[in-house]
Subunit: 340 residues, 2 copies
Amino acid sequence: MRIGIDAMGGDLAPAEQVKGALLARSLLGPRDRIVLIGDERRILPLLPGPRKWQDYIDVRHAPQVIGMDEPPVESLRAKPESSLAVMAEMHRDGALDACISAGNTGAFVAAAQMRLRRLRGVHRPGIVIITPTFKGPVALCDVGSNVNCRPQHLHQYAVMAGIYVQTVCHISQPRVGLLSVGQENAKGNPLVRGTHELLRKDPGINFVGNVEGRDLFRGICDLILCDGFVGNVVLKLVEGMAEGVINGLVRELTANLTGAWGLLGSKIKKTAKTILNNYDFNEYGGAPLLGVNGICVICHGVTDYRGIMNAVRGAMVFAEKRINDRIMEMLAATRGAAHV
Amino acid sequence: MRIGIDAMGGDLAPAEQVKGALLARSLLGPRDRIVLIGDERRILPLLPGPRKWQDYIDVRHAPQVIGMDEPPVESLRAKPESSLAVMAEMHRDGALDACISAGNTGAFVAAAQMRLRRLRGVHRPGIVIITPTFKGPVALCDVGSNVNCRPQHLHQYAVMAGIYVQTVCHISQPRVGLLSVGQENAKGNPLVRGTHELLRKDPGINFVGNVEGRDLFRGICDLILCDGFVGNVVLKLVEGMAEGVINGLVRELTANLTGAWGLLGSKIKKTAKTILNNYDFNEYGGAPLLGVNGICVICHGVTDYRGIMNAVRGAMVFAEKRINDRIMEMLAATRGAAHV
C-alpha cells in the first residue's frame, strides 16, 4: 500500500516526519511505499543518498503549509497546494491508500471530509484515541472532530470505535461507557440522555451505562463515548496531568533525598520517565479518523519519529483488517435491524 | 451565625458529619451555632454527654433522607421532611445563615434554587471549586450545577467566581481562562465562541483567552470557566487521575526496590500520601453554590470530618466577606455599564 505522510505538519516537522519515514522501512512489505508530501526544498536535505530511500520512499512536492493555528476550512481553501490538501486529493484519486498528519487536526479532518467524503451511512466522522492507564488501555471517541454531537453520532461512534477497539486491542466485545456527570440515567445533558436510550436499545453494543470522569482509570470499560469538545478537553487534561503530577511527585521525592539517599534520585527519575512514556502518545499508533472513505491517522502535534512510525503501523493494520468494510457492514446491519 | 449541616448526606454520614460538627467548636465565635439536621435517632447516639455540645450544637430532627442517586427535583417533592429540604427551608426562613451538605449535589442545588431563590440579577447559580495543582490553586466554575449553559451564564460565573477567588485566594485580579479545545478564538463550540465575545468586551474581567485541558496544571490562570457538564467530568477525572497515577507510580517504584533499597519503600509511600492529600478535597473548604440568596457549601460525597470542618470555615468566610453583597453590587454595575 502507499502511505502518505504530511511532512510539514506538526511541531517537529519536517525533521521527525522524515526520520520516521526512513525508519518505517522495517514495517513495510516489498510492495509498500511511503510518500512524503511537502516542501521538497526542506525535505530533500533531510534525506540521505537516494539509494538509501528511493526504493521505498517517494517525495511529492507541495509548496504551501497550513499552520497549526490556522482556521481549518478557510486555510484549505486559501492553500490548495498545501501538504494537507495535496495529500487528501492524492488519497481521493487513488494515489494513496492512507494519510498521516501531525499537523492542524481541524484542517486534516476538514480535508478528509471534503475530499474523501464519508463512508456510506455515516453521519459524522469521529476521532478515536487509545489512552494508556494503569488498568490497561481505554479508547475515547470522539476527541475533537465533532463538537456538535447528536445522539445518532455517538451511537455510530460506539459501532465504529467498537470495531476499531476489537481489532487493535483484541477485545471481542468491548465494554462501552457513555461519559456523563453521574451514573444515573436521569443525569447528564440532553445529548447523554438521548444517546443512553439509543445504546441501551442496541443489542449489538455491550453497553455498561453512563460512566464518570474518574472511571477512565478504573478499568471498567474499554471504550468511552463523548462529544468532541469534552473528549478533547479530557485528552489534553490527561496529558497535562500525567506530566504535572509525575514531575511534581519526582520533585518532592528527590528534594527529600539527602546524603546517601541522593543516589536514589536518578533511579526515581528513570522510573518516572518510564511511566511518563506510558502516557506518551508517541508510543501509540496515532488516532484514526473513523467514518471517512479512506484511512486517515492523526498524530499528536509534538509527535516525534516514533509516533510517525506507529502511525504507519496503525494505518497498515487499519487497511489489513479492512476496518472500513466492517464499519459499513455493521452500519448497514444496524439500519436493517431498525427497519424490522 | 447559625450554620446548618445536613447530617444525613454523604457516603460517611452521619458519623463524619457529627464528628466534624463537634470538632468545629474551635472555629466558632461565642455567638455562632451549628445545627445538625437529620434523623435524631441516628445523630444523638453519636454525640457525647449533652454538656459537651449543647452550648454550640443544636439537633433538628428530619426523618427522611434523599439518597445519593435519587433524582433531585422528584425526591425533594416526595420527601419534604428530608434533611436537605428542611435545611433549605430553615435557611429561607432565617433560622440558618448557611447550609452545608455532602449529600446528593443535584438535590442540594435544586433545594437551594427552589427555597432560597437566586440573587437579584443572577441567571443561573454555579458551583465553584478550588483545585490544588503543583503550580498553585486553580478555581473551576461551573462543576456540575448547570449542564445547559449559555454565554450569559458563563459571563456571570466569571464575575461571581472571580469575587470568590479574590477573597479566598487573595488574588486581586484573577486571571480568567475559558476552557475550550484550542486557544484560537475560532475554535470551540457555540457556547465558547459566544462567551469569548462577552468576556473580551468586559473591562472588569482579566480575561486571558481560551485555555485547554492541559492548562489546568500550568499556572497560567486562576479561574477557568466551563459549563457544568464539562466541569464535572474534569473534576472527577482529576480526582481519579491523581489517585491512579500516583498509586501506579508508587507501585512501580516500590516493586523495583529490592534489598537495602526496600527500606525506602515506606518513605516513598509516605511522600505519595502527602501529595495525594494535596489532591484531597477534604483539605479544602467545600464548593460554594454561587448566585443563590444564601450560603450553600457543597462537600464531596466521601468527605470526612475534616471536609465538614473546612466547609464550616468556608461558610464563615463567605458570610464575613459579604460575598453575596459584592456579587450583587458587581452584577448591578455590569448591568449599568451595559445600558450606558
